[in-house]
Symmetry: C2
Subunit: 210 residues, 2 copies
Amino acid sequence: MTPQSTRRTRERLVEVARELFHQQGYGATGLAQILRTAEVNSGSLYHFFRGKHELLLAVLEHYKELLWPAVLEPAWRGVDDPIERIWALLDAYRGALLESEFQSSCPIGSLALELKDLHPEAHALIAENFEGWRQAVRGCLEDARARFPAGLERDKLATFVLTTMEGGVMQSRSYRSIGPFDDSVAMLRDYFGRILDSEPTPPKKARKHP
Amino acid sequence: MTPQSTRRTRERLVEVARELFHQQGYGATGLAQILRTAEVNSGSLYHFFRGKHELLLAVLEHYKELLWPAVLEPAWRGVDDPIERIWALLDAYRGALLESEFQSSCPIGSLALELKDLHPEAHALIAENFEGWRQAVRGCLEDARARFPAGLERDKLATFVLTTMEGGVMQSRSYRSIGPFDDSVAMLRDYFGRILDSEPTPPKKARKHP
């Protein structure tokens, strides 16, 4: 194999595994199905990965790379206001729920619930994926800091935005209705409104920008 | 078999399936393992269930029965204040995360993300389980209605409490830290505080109690 075709084989394995883990779950996906779907023989697979677990780690690394091009960039195209970007990000998940007739889900969230403690490295990579998403939202809150009270707990609020997305998607899947997702986002928006309306705390001088 | 031993066989199958689906996921659990663990032969299983899917439906029915004795009653023992009951319910999930070293999860939430649209009946039963939990929280909000503004959207807020629990549990599992769960609950508490502090709306006369 040329280096290029080698790279392509690895990429194909990761892509097929990503798709199958998301569609069926990690536990329900066998290596044989991955090989068959990717049209790769087991020798090639073991050249790159010691087994399904290492393939999972590669998939989770790949998801980190996808955050900007597959999630943030499409959601934020044409949206400049930092707070509107938060709603646009949530709206992208809403659109995916509707378009898929409530089959879509966050692949990271699904793996977070499926994988047990036998997979500490995978959980660490899942947390890194959550962290990328959370930091993107935190950046929006940072960019909009002049509109918030000075004492805003940006880290916690960014976590809460991710919590809202994940919990809303989960419920809407089973209710087969956008209602729970929309209701969760409506409550989050109401909360944001109350924070934004609260009297701005005078900026804390030395403490905020030491 | 006597009627009593028949019932016990069915109960054992449901209990073993519930445990294995929760530990391993639905897709990764085979009927053979269920039979082996329950020490039941396949003839007895097919006497009760046409297959794994029907067993899943029985498991989800059983979870509905468990809401009070296994979730609400232990969380609310000795807690009479309706708003404190909401925090006590969330605190029960916090305790389970800590005790299990971040392995615990909500079995209903896990199935909501794992099962695909091949299982519409299962999703309907998952939604019924969510609904029981949500209605319990809604009941607390109803009991505390005198302390809230009259226009409080109790249905949406109850959904948001469930969203907070599910999203918080999901993240804490992967971060291997109670931080994301605690931060999410802290934001929810702050939101409740802001609602409770807001000026009480004058009661709407005929509209609230037609």
